[in-house]
């Protein structure tokens, strides 16, 4: 495959960036998108040019590190797929591909496609935990949790914190991320004790970090590589209202 890449290049956080065009020649359709970028980078390095900086880690779709908007969609057009698991067979030969970083005030660009997502850590630190004393290992099944509740919690816990929801949101709101973290604990007995403080602190942290407000566009749900549902946003809203009672 031969492709033309239009990649966002920005030297540093204070610099002005722009899209630059690079050819990607003889790309194997079995490569992942990041492997294709690796090859482009090899060529750039050989030519003495600065390689394209991008975030990545596990390359198995589970760590949440990779983060690029490909042709206007966070993680590209394949549903429920991180960009590291997006394969080149999903593209037409000769295609033009535009690659941009997550764009949000709360995610300052560090270099090229790398953004600083520590604002998500700040939200987690505000309440994304339980502080109960666990003591020794409890007997199995001593704390019974109905299957639908466990499933609900696990579905929310699927969030890998990549930030695609924020990248997709017209308001750069972190509501889907925050709601998944609130909801996964709110329904479990271990999480209920601190539920009121958690929802208030985490939503406050979200706004303090410069994320926008949710106005129910639901772009986040469509962009999420893990298919996190906006039903968790409704859960967060319920938890928020409950916190005043």
């Amino acid at each position: 495959m031969n492709l033309t890449l239009h990649v966002w290049r920005q030297k540093g956080p204070q610099d002005k960036g722009k899209l630059e065009t690079y050819p990607a020649k003889d790309v194997s359709s079995d490569m992942s998108f990041l492997e294709m970028l690796d090859e482009v980078n090899d060529k750039l390095i050989k030519e003495g040019k600065d390689p394209i900086a991008f975030d990545h880690d596990c390359r198995e779709g589970i760590c949440g590190m990779c983060s690029s908007v490909v042709n206007g969609r966070p993680h590209g057009h394949q549903e429920k797929t991180t960009v590291c698991q997006l394969h080149m067979r999903q593209f037409e030969d000769g295609a033009d591909i535009v690659v941009e970083p997550w764009l949000a005030k709360a995610f300052p660009i560090q270099k090229d496609l790398i953004v600083d997502r520590s604002a998500l850590d700040v939200i987690m630190q505000a309440g994304g935990y339980t502080s109960c004393h666990t003591g020794g290992v409890v007997d199995a099944n001593s704390l019974l949790i109905p299957k639908p509740v466990a499933d609900f919690s696990m579905d929310a816990a699927e969030c890998i914190g990549c930030g695609a929801c924020i990248a997709a949101c017209p308001n750069s709101s972190a509501m889907l991320f925050t709601s998944a973290k609130v909801a996964q604990l709110a329904v479990l007995p271990q999480g209920k004790a601190e539920a009121k403080d958690r929802v208030l602190e985490m939503t406050k942290a979200m706004l303090d970090e410069g994320f926008g407000n949710c106005t129910n566009h639901y772009e986040c749900q469509e962009a999420c590589p893990k298919g996190i549902s906006v039903k968790f946003i409704a859960t967060l809203n319920r938890e928020y209202l409950k916190s005043f009672t």
Partner: protein
């Protein structure tokens, strides 16, 4: 937004019910208008409360838009719309159109300072009551006035088609199963409000209801 929006939906529902009485003859809306005016200070308290609701709703709407655009200052070179709708993206614009219309509507039918030739009909009495029916009819026989109302009601339809389902989500009343159903019902309800409100000027304009 959701709380004030919900209250304003309650208001437009009652307002619509009253207005649809034009389809039941001259006396129906005239009796309705007379009853409303006979409530005296209660009407004024109600009007002030509605204006306050509008003011709070608009202030929050503008604040939300400013905060959200400051949270996403950079635009993508390419951005695909995944799930959102034109209605959702244009909430601030349809809201502002409705605000301008609201001022015009008040100047027209409440304060009677625009289109004075048409609204002067309210000075005459029919069966001992101010002739609100003819005031409305004469106004809407004017194509310009009718078109302004129809455009404004299209903006209201768009605003409601996102707003109605949005407040269910904001109140936390949704779950995974109800999401699409609520969105569908919200759009249908918005179509109903839009068509019902648009029917009034068009009925007079096309002489389906005659004055």
């Amino acid at each position: 937004m959701a709380v004030t929006g919900f209250m304003l939906v309650c208001f437009i529902s009652v307002h619509l019910l009253g207005n649809l009485s034009v389809f039941f003859g001259v006396d129906a809306i005239n009796i309705y208008a007379e009853k409303l005016h006979s409530l005296g200070p209660v009407v004024w308290i109600f009007r002030m409360a509605i204006l306050l609701l509008f003011a709070v709703h608009i202030t929050f709407g503008i604040q939300l838009t400013v905060e959200n655009s400051s949270a996403s200052p950079e635009a993508y070179a390419i951005k695909k719309r995944l799930k959102t709708t034109f209605a959702a993206e244009s909430m601030i614009y349809t809201g502002l159109i409705i605000l301008v219309f609201l001022l015009y509507h008040l100047l027209h039918f409440t304060v009677h300072v625009v289109h004075t030739d048409a609204v002067s009909a309210v000075q005459t009495l029919v069966n001992g009551r101010p002739d609100v029916f003819t005031m409305i009819g004469k106004s809407f026989n004017n194509a310009f006035i009718s078109i302004v109302y129809v455009i404004a009601m299209c903006a209201l339809f768009l605003h409601l088609s996102h707003g109605l389902q949005s407040f269910i989500q904001t109140f936390g009343l949704n779950n995974g199963k109800t999401q699409d159903i609520v969105a569908g019902i919200g759009k249908l309800a918005a179509i109903f409000y839009g068509l019902a409100y648009i029917a009034i000027p068009l009925a007079f304009l096309f002489h389906i209801v005659k004055i």
